[in-house]
């Protein structure tokens, strides 16, 4: 019985955190560079992350999340991550709570 509970817990956790990510990128723009020690596809770039839960009210349903820290006023790359847990939260709150896991890179200010 105990083993079964542990197994259920493990499977549930794996399901909740299981995810996929999608990266969108401008093909002819220069991403904002940065000196970092990253060792992923965004190495050498100024990566900003957003990891939050947005509470949506009826009056704010269509209101976007503002990105204020791009000097160029434009985005170069967005990596959006979706988890099963996030979808579950969306369903059980009838869409009022939405998990936002986003990495983004601004377009370099062309000056």
């Amino acid at each position: 019985m105990k083993l079964k509970s542990i197994l259920i817990l493990i499977v549930s956790y794996a399901l909740l955190v299981s995810c996929y990510s999608i990266r969108l990128k401008v093909s002819n723009g220069q991403a904002e560079p940065a000196d970092t020690e990253r060792e992923d596809a965004l190495s050498g770039l100024m990566v900003r992350e957003m990891d939050t839960i947005v509470k949506v009210k009826l009056t704010t349903d269509e209101s976007p999340i503002n990105i204020r820290d791009c000097d160029s006023g434009a985005l170069h790359t967005i990596e959006y991550k979706n988890t099963f847990g996030g979808i579950l939260l969306y369903l059980i709150t009838f869409g009022r709570k939405r998990v936002v896991k986003v990495k983004y890179v601004c377009l370099k200010d062309p000056n």
Binding site: S27, N28, G29, Q30, E32, P33, D35, E37, R38, E39, D40, A41, L42, S43, G44, D71, K108, D109, P110, N111
Partner: protein
């Protein structure tokens, strides 16, 4: 005022993690906001003041100071243990008007552009393409800054064009923090811009071929390159083919570059007599562990620009993303995806690895054919320049080394570059063949030769075979090898040092010296007796 942040650090690393290296201060400068300083020339001059202030701070602290761009070099050429200045956000771009030209210039002002040091190749291409222009050549990818490119000699494989530094016609160099230390340097034999243009950036003009050619590949040690004037050309298209051809044919082409009389022909790429055309770009890919009968070659032909090219040939970028024959590391990474991650097993698998086929022909702009490389993990790259007539022999010697004393987890390629006038340009032969060995980093053990040892042995075997060579300044090598710089460049080394020691005061020479320069023994300061080395030779 330009906005500078200074961060205490203990270490710094290259993009491909060839370090880490120790570091005290990481400095980064952003230009003043446009709204607060709308005139771009004001912002450029404001940045120059900031650079001078940072140089003075370094001098006052007894520290070294070095400009840093995209950190793509795998050698330690960009590293300075005291203060490194990240300048990739200093990227102003200027058109040149006819009124900015020198009275004796032969350049067309429509092809000249003044670029601040931190402009990266990709954004320069976009800026030029929006005006119907193009760079003449780039490296295999597009992330390097323009100042980084010319300081280290970034090149492609454009046989009759040269390297990035070879289309630079003017350099704004800051050699200290005094009023006279902001210089605008050109060739006296080929002036480009007027004194009045130089006055707008508060620079003192020196037109002198010797000085210009020394600064052109200055290894980041001639001062701080704040801006460059480049010559672009009208936009064009490139048509890219990858073919497997007989090894003998590929190597004969490498040593002769006689495409006209070669048996290698691509239908449609021939003249009226049916002879093969000379391509814009020729590159050979080699797996040294597999004695295959065929090599994969990449041949690219220059075509007039056609605004309808995407409708006719398709968008090149989705194809370029899928292709394996891009830069050499990318090819190896693609091969390695199918093989075990354990290095000895991987190398074993390379023995049987046949380089893949790639038949799709693409047409695109320079910026599309040599598109994003992205991060490819911890990598090494060695690159030797030899006279193309020696290329087959040198390849044989270096491939034998990998087979007999290796193996190492890397594969080879050959690219070709026209001679550069830079005193320390590794493209010093009439046409230089760059033999490249790129791969995945590994730990040396009893079973596999270390990269350090392999790098030493590469120099030794080329010397033993009496093959004159150079080494790419931004790649891995045994830079401490005794007498290396003089062996590669002969009298040019003394001339380069004499010019540096005339151009810089002793204290500024110290500021702009790093461990890499000490390794290659280019750092010693003996003021030359001929102080006319950096005279302005025409007005």
């Amino acid at each position: 005022m330009a906005r500078t942040s200074i961060t205490a650090r203990t270490r710094w690393d290259t993009l491909h993690k060839n370090g880490p290296f120790p570091l005290k201060w990481f400095i980064s400068t952003k230009l003043e906001r446009k709204g607060d300083m709308p005139d771009p020339i004001d912002r450029y001059n404001d940045a120059a003041k900031e650079i001078m202030k940072l140089i003075k701070n370094a001098r006052d602290a007894g520290d070294g100071f070095r400009a840093l761009g995209s950190k793509w070099s795998m050698s330690s050429i960009a590293h300075q243990k005291d203060r490194m200045h990240f300048n990739a956000l200093m990227n102003l771009k200027f058109n040149i008007s006819s009124g900015d030209l020198h009275s004796n210039t032969t350049y067309d002002h429509k092809n000249l552009f003044f670029l601040q040091c931190g402009n990266q190749i990709k954004e320069i291409s976009k800026f030029l393409e929006d005006q119907g222009k193009s760079l003449k050549t780039t490296g295999a990818s597009n992330g390097q800054t323009i100042a980084g490119c010319i300081s280290t000699g970034v090149h492609g494989s454009a046989l009759d064009v040269g390297s990035v530094q070879d289309y630079v016609v003017g350099i704004n160099l800051i050699t200290g923090f005094g009023a006279n230390d902001n210089l605008y340097i050109e060739r006296h034999s080929k002036p480009a811009l007027s004194d009045s243009f130089a006055a707008t950036i508060n620079a003192r003009v020196i037109r002198n071929d010797g000085l210009f050619n020394a600064v052109l590949v200055g290894l980041g040690s001639m001062g701080y390159i704040h801006g460059v004037v480049i010559e672009a050309e009208d936009r064009f298209l490139l048509k890219r083919y990858v073919r497997k051809i007989k090894k003998e044919t590929a190597l004969k082409l490498a040593t002769t570059l006689d495409f006209k009389n070669s048996e290698f022909k691509i239908p449609g790429e021939t003249d009226a007599q049916g002879n093969a055309l000379r391509p814009y770009h020729y590159k050979v890919f080699i797996n040294p562990y597999n004695d295959q009968d065929e090599y994969a070659i990449e041949a690219i032909y220059k075509k007039p620009y056609d605004p309808d090219y995407k409708n006719k040939f398709g968008d090149p970028i989705p194809f370029m993303k899928e292709f394996v024959y891009r830069d050499l590391i990318y090819l190896l990474i693609k091969i390695s995806e199918k093989f075990p991650k354990v290095i000895p097993k991987f190398i074993e698998a390379l023995n049987g690895a046949i380089l893949p086929k790639e038949d799709k022909v693409v047409v695109g702009k320079l910026s599309e054919i040599f598109w994003d490389a992205g991060y490819q993990g911890r990598a090494f790259a060695c690159s030797f320049g030899v006279d193309h007539k020696d290329s087959a022999k040198a390849l044989n010697v270096l491939a034998d080394l990998a087979k007999n004393e290796g193996p190492i987890p890397g594969i080879y390629a050959m690219r070709f570059i026209k001679r550069s006038e830079g005193l320390l340009a590794f493209s010093k032969f009439p046409i230089t063949c760059m033999i490249e060995i790129d791969g995945i980093q590994w730990d040396g053990s009893q079973h596999i030769i270390s990269l350090e040892k392999f790098a030493t042995r590469m120099i030794e075997v080329l010397k033993a075979e009496n093959i004159p060579f150079t080494i790419h300044w931004g790649k891995n090598a045994d830079w401490n090898f005794p007498g290396l710089a003089v062996h590669m460049y002969g009298n040019n080394v003394k001339q380069w040092k004499d010019i540096r020691n005339t151009l810089l005061s002793q204290e500024m020479a110290k500021v702009f010296t790093n461990d890499f320069l000490r390794s290659v023994k280019l750092d010693d300061f003996t003021p030359p007796t001929d102080t006319g080395l950096i005279d302005n030779l025409i007005t």
